[in-house]
Assembly symmetry: C2
Homo-oligomer: 205 residues x 2
């Protein structure tokens, strides 16, 4: 490996991290390298920078493509493939979330659904099904939220994040103001339960 020290540390750290979740070391390193490189790199650039075999680079790039994490570029009069990462880190985050959901969450949800369809053969199984139903419902709530939020443009998403938990307070403020403004048109919102509070159901978006 023959890289400027700062880039080297970053690449090595990503390699480590990569192996801590599913992705492997080389894939992590290549991603890190592409992420910080000032221009798109071709396979041989990567071989040179990381000191790994050509075939390993080829396979790892395939994997990154399968994750939609890299962008393919072509230079005129050069038939080699050049690779970069998207410029926008928020876009990268979205892709990562989407792919991890696809690989980690969706299969679990469908296994849970399948098991929950079957009849329990004993009290032990019935209890297990109740537990699985709790898990299923939690995951479903989270993915519903995610599906909703992922469509926001970056700017609004950032606003949402910067508000954080303040929103629950804001929500109460809004309840007060709106119910006051409308002079109690129907009934007052009052205490809200955990399940399905969906005020202000605008048709747009």
């Amino acid at each position: 490996m023959n890289l400027p020290p700062l880039i080297r540390s970053f690449v090595l750290h990503f390699g480590e991290m990569g192996s801590r979740w599913g992705i492997n070391r080389t894939v992590g390193q290549i991603y890190a390298l592409l992420y910080v490189a000032p221009r798109p790199l071709c396979a041989d650039d990567i071989v040179e920078a990381l000191g790994i075999s050509r075939s390993n680079v080829s396979m790892s790039l395939r994997e990154l493509q399968a994750w939609n994490l890299v962008v393919l570029k072509h230079l005129p009069d050069d038939r080699r493939d050049f690779f970069t990462t998207p410029d926008d880190v928020w876009q990268i985050l979205r892709t990562l979330a989407e792919e991890r959901k696809k690989r980690e969450v969706d299969p679990t949800l469908s296994v849970l659904r399948e098991i929950l369809m079957q009849p329990a053969g004993s009290e032990e199984e019935a209890h297990a099904q109740r537990r699985m139903a709790e898990m299923h419902d939690l995951i479903e709530q989270l993915t519903t939220w995610y599906d909703d939020v992922k469509r926001l443009e970056t700017e609004r998403l950032a606003t949402l994040l910067s508000l954080g938990s303040k929103i629950t307070r804001l929500l109460e403020t809004k309840d007060r103001i709106v119910s006051f403004g409308r002079a109690r048109k129907s009934e007052r919102p009052g205490e809200r339960r955990s399940g399905g509070a969906t005020p202000g159901k605008d048709p747009e978006e």
Copy 2:
């Protein structure tokens, strides 16, 4: 492995999933088993249910304890350790988020900070630092949001989730109403930038 079919499917799925992210197959299976079991299990119950060696169970339980994912119980007049998972799935989610952050996010943040402190030795390194800074800032925004939201009680967290992106609309509604109600006390909120929109900075928690 000698388990009722529904439980068996669940346990096997979790084993698979386990190996898809960092955790290993056995650890995943044991967790799944404890999660659906109607009562706390001891190590030998697990050996029996999953058909794996006693020592493997012992090591895997240690790992689950290191992740804070299991609860230790003792029965009177029995010095064996019995294990369960917490009853509340939201609590489980919190623990999982906390531990993954500790292992996956925090180390990355500190590596990024360290690298960003060092002087760049070339334009290539300077560019890399700019990219790393973008990544750093994104992660910091996400963790700030997380640190804020994780303190919410389950009920409020559920409300927040069920609102999802509707909140940004709600926010605009609130801006309108509040600025109208206050009859433009100081300046009007207007367009909001991505960075630090923090309306309603209440002192309380």
